[in-house]
Symmetry: D2
Subunit: 438 residues, 4 copies
């Protein structure tokens, strides 16, 4: 994996406000993952942010006294040469597109969200073709590199790479599982490192179906504690869920949902909240302005605390632990998005799933979980079915398929709304969706 | 199958207003299905209706000049002895229970309907234990008989029989597929007998995934015609759908939905309609009063035309054709609910599915349909998952599971509504749900 | 399917001694399958035989007074234009190659046979690339035509077409199932037309797993009668099996084997027979000489009775019934080789299987048979595994894979024998196996 | 798992000559697996051996200075109370039965061997009912204990426990995988602890389908080295295989076979060897006499070196490492026999497979391996099919099924031999096979 002179990491979308998280993570793990070169890549529109982030990254590295060179470039193909790891964290259309993804569905009375419902679908439409281009470049320029994708919707992007290319070294990543582990560890009153999860599901629609402490299942107790958690506890835990669930529901499914399940099981409440406040894209926009002002301060040479509010808690840990364990062949358990291959026996064999994997130098090897817990099987199948249609529509530009996909998403109460929302979003995002105007 | 002296049919729930449909069907097919004895069975509370219907049936038979003896009885076990076919058409709790199934969910802002959502779930809770009792009796008293169930929710009842018993001769039946065939034949402008469907799905959530005319697929054209059907045409076709679909949606799924899909893809509109009118149970109640008044007229000796309005169009055909083809080993194609056994390759092996089957003396043998059309896979899996939870809750009386099941049904927008609706319906139907008070 | 002016059938390998069977079959079914043009195609080396057969075919047609034009040609691509059906019955390397397929393995102490073991494997190696070429031509020149392949090994050829091309209109055919039906009908003492089989397996390794008379299973009795059949009865039935099975074995598997199972379950006896007599290729060679002498007699204008000895009993019926039912969309049950698609739930989804199918204008639609009867599952999986490796080796020319395939065939007792036999056959057939010398 | 006062291990068949292996293993791991009580259980016929072994075990423990109490008893049910682990290593009928398992098939010209072919089948018939009795006792007396079975045929016994009981804490164990790892490590020239295998298959028919060094696949090189290994190297490696394979075969299957594959891929050679020498049961008989003479020497207080010849190399390591990792929840990778649950996607879901598992306090959790490597799929399916029939016959005592099972095993060349061998073995072992005389 590593070149003679240390590990080379290329981060596409390097101008993201998240990058200092990543840089901090690499600094902290330099012994296990000796990165000698970090190349931040972005597009011309993002050049200013890229340089701001790059300069901060260099100050952080210098402050830490770690021998890691940080470069910035707009030349993606040149950057890829010799890469050991390529991380991708892009936002095609940037925050204005996200705001449209949220506002337009809302104006039709349905949820739009960065990764769920109409918003997630259109983010997938914009992002998948771009990521597939990255894969082609990687296969040509650095075929032995691992691609680790953080861009949302991470699960559908992994699904696209797995089903539309023959590239075998792509892993999808999300901070949801590590936050779930942290939250459940807090509920159980044990240290995170003693606790393991078993997951079934897909990215942003994943359930903990088993909880192990010191290698022994404590699921019955975890379900009961989670079922009866108090409101304030939930909120304290990285927005584990916006609103606690009824105990009956949690006992009924015998599984612990992820935060994004809120959109599906508390649809009405979520919609009310969205209607009355700012959508997330607008909030994030203001946060980012503040963050970049901070980043420009040349005295800043560590990750600023304000970044925590941005929402990517533990992304750094999730990402850098993955890279470090692949690099060292650690054999530890992490939670990532990979090809199913029977590990959830009744989901499609070649689809992306989010599960507990053993991480070695050959990547992420899932633990077999058997068939889906029958108490969550229906919704998981439903979302996987939706994802597969979205991927096909993203690649073919088939508008009818986009309508059919959204209409069968539980967030869309009637198919005529799907037609209206799809049409309006197609018009709004036209410049980023050439596949739909062919 | 047949005893020396002709075929014996036992109809449990024989006092139903539908029974004259069945009697007419048997009369018309007497050459292919020589029924010598029809025993109508009912419970003591239904005795008066049973006698009314029995008397009408005898007049119909006499008028037709067919040598079929019609008996009525409250002694179910005695009736079963020597039966060749047992048909079941029961309504535990009768129409008042149905009205509660519809009104209570509606009061919480969600659909309740005889076979879908909270209403269907509670009808299943009331009916499944009773039907499982019938199966035990049949296995003891007439183990070679075929049980053909028309009671709703027909799919979940079939699922329960298949997964909770080892009885192998139960077939579920519904008039939806034959009405779909009639409607599609009308759209295509061909006679029904030239048209065959291929179905994928479950009862009341079934899609036509192929349409054959004279054994050749005309699916592309059928999809296009159905996609662009005019409003009035839809209405003319046995309420094929309450409201036509957007062409994009139909083209997108490349399948033809069944009427009950309206509840899922036109949820908002259906809810509006329900809110502003009488619920179906109330309408049916008035229809039944009128019907029974008619039935009591001793001059009536044919099926009265008013019965058509009752909603069971073609039930008679569906049911009697099935019995006739089993009796004669006809080898024709009919649409029934049977054990999957791989005919829809990605649904559970032992679950009930509604598919095109070849009917022989050994029952219904499904044609293999391959994996689910990916464009409808998510919703079909979703409903099958729901059904399986409902069956488990019906048998175990697990209230948490009931809450979890309803909360994941797309008709329920938030899990706290599920808790409220389940609790209120449990209270309302308590006398019929002893399994939940253990 | 049919052109305005009647059906056009193209027979590749038309100079085969079997062709008069086919011609007779078409003549007899002219009302249901109005063939207006039969084009017999062959390669230059076979021109003389082609003309002999063509002339006989014309005399037969004239004698029958049927308006079917018979043409002969060496120009395959021209012949294909406008075809409705393309039947293929080729023998690459002709009988001398077959004799090598049989003699070389025998010299190493193992069975070689036209479709089984080393012989079948090498026939597949020679034939599959040629058939895949036909498929390319058909897709270009007559994409709506049905290809019906009789060439052996029919199952592996179907497997190759299904897995190596995207052509969807190829059906494999064999006379084994119709002969099994005839034999079992004789054992049961009923007319063939009242009896249906349910099959599980692959071509030449297929079991009857159910027997229906008038649509009702009589499997228990059929197993018992077959288990206790007398020697002479077996022989009388189209060599149903060379040697009766032990009753215990038949009762144990609860299935009725096909004649070719003899090679696997009576390996020792078969080997002894082969060792002491002429191999089949030699016998057939002499039969063919006699046959062609007869065919050349210009007074002959019907199928000569000697042809029956040739071995293809009922091929004519199997083939022509298939064409007729596709043409008319008959909806009857026939036994052919098609894509599995879950009809045998635990065999690979895309593999070829030999099963009972309903024949319509859209081809052959299998009846779902559930999972493999566990009592035959191991051997059926074994042979399917072998077939898949043979197809891959046939396409890639991978000698190691050929060795591995043969070594795991139950007919090969030690892997070093596989190396020796594969090497010797590769040398012997070199001119027909260019893929292995790349 | 552990009781307050340390771990209690019960070893059924404690009088086995292998027991000192186990005792040594427990002594060496006392820090990780603090066994406070080891109870050796045996049947009355084995009392003398039991006491001999028990006395030696006590001397070994005393010599090592480890606080582990060693008890011996004939009262199995009392011994089980409070057990944390129950290991089973029984031989119903003892060595005389094994000699019959080997000699009788050989007299009919086929292999009989302790775990393969007719011998393995009859050992399964004798052992499975006895083990199922142990399971019932464990479920009653110490339901939280783990049962670890070493008795042969280990895979079929695991299959029986998994499919015939609802006990969830049974793990099958064999020393073959650890010996394969050692052998392959030697071939690759790396330490064993740096090397991991991925396995696909069943006990005694398992292939290494991937080899990892430091977490990175080196399969290409491992295959090539194994393919070209010299004769003497093979022999040096714990009889890795009696005879090296042809390079073509190993390259063709792209997998590394286990030693027992010799019986299938070198059948002829193995048979020759068996015919000319003593069968294994006879050899072992003499070895055991010598061993027990040594055991009786009261000065002996360590495992005697002669035991190594007995054949169970590394059994001690395999067994005690498993117990230790379960006890401590280690999370390391070991190779054991467990329920498949999709980890080999195309084998039956509930069957036993031998695969790489992560060992925690909840037992063995398999890593997903995807579908079977197609190059070995046929034979693995074949043997799994055989195993399932053997288990069914062992439980039902169905002689016809026994005949059918053996006749389809590749080691049996003709079904009449199966009848003869089954009948003779049934007679010979009658006293141990009551289920077959019902």
């Amino acid at each position: 994996m590593a070149n003679g002179n240390g590990v080379k990491v290329v981060t596409i979308g390097g101008g993201s406000s998240y990058t200092p998280e990543l840089v901090e993570g690499l600094i902290l793990r330099h012994d296990r993952l000796p990165v000698s070169e970090l190349v931040l890549v972005d597009v011309p529109e993002g050049e200013e942010k890229l340089e701001t982030v790059g300069a901060l990254a260099r100050r952080m590295v210098e402050h830490a006294g770690v021998p890691m060179r940080v470069a910035t470039t707009l030349d993606r193909r040149r950057a890829l040469e010799g890469a050991d790891f390529v991380t991708t964290q892009i936002r095609v259309g940037r925050l204005p597109a996200r705001i449209l993804d949220e506002r337009i569905p809302l104006s039709h009375g349905i949820m739009g969200q960065e990764t769920n419902g109409a918003g997630g679908m259109f983010k997938a439409f914009r992002t998948i073709p771009v990521i597939l281009g990255f894969v082609r470049d990687i296969q040509e320029l650095c075929p032995d590199a691992w691609m680790v994708n953080f861009s949302n919707p991470s699960g559908m992007i992994e699904e696209a790479v797995l089903t539309q290319t023959d590239f075998q070294r792509a892993i999808g990543l999300c901070n949801v599982p590590v936050n779930m582990r942290a939250g459940i560890a807090a509920i159980m009153g044990v240290g995170e490192d003693r606790l393991e999860l078993r997951l079934q599901g897909v990215n942003h629609f994943v359930f903990a179906t088993d909880v192990l402490v010191d290698g022994r299942s404590v699921m019955d107790e975890a379900v009961e504690r989670y079922a009866t958690i108090a409101d304030d506890e939930t909120l304290a835990m990285n927005n584990f869920a916006a609103k606690p669930y009824s105990p009956e529901f949690i006992r009924g499914i015998r599984a612990i949902p992820c935060p994004y399940h809120d959109y599906y099981f508390h649809t009405a409440e979520q919609l009310d909240e969205f209607r009355t406040g700012n959508v997330r894209g607008e909030v994030v926009g203001r946060l980012e302005e503040t963050l970049f002002a901070t980043y420009r301060d040349v005295r800043l040479d560590v990750k600023p605390p304000e970044l925590a509010q941005r929402g990517g808690a533990r992304y750094s840990d999730a990402a850098c632990d993955l890279l470090a364990s692949i690099h060292s062949g650690a054999g530890d358990i992490q939670y990532v998005d990979v090809r199913n291959r029977g590990c959830i026996a009744d989901l499609p064999y070649d689809s992306a799933v989010e599960v507990a994997c053993r991480i070695t130098a050959d990547g992420a090897e899932p633990l077999a979980t058997g068939r889906l817990n029958p108490r969550i099987a229906g919704p998981v199948h439903m979302i996987k079915g939706f994802e597969r249609l979205v991927v096909e529509a993203a690649v073919t530009g088939d508008r009818d398929l986009a309508v059919a996909a959204l209409a069968q998403n539980p967030l869309c109460p009637t198919e005529s709304t799907s037609v209206a929302v799809v049409d309006e979003l197609l018009r709004a995002h036209g410049e980023y969706l050439p596949q739909f105007s062919r």
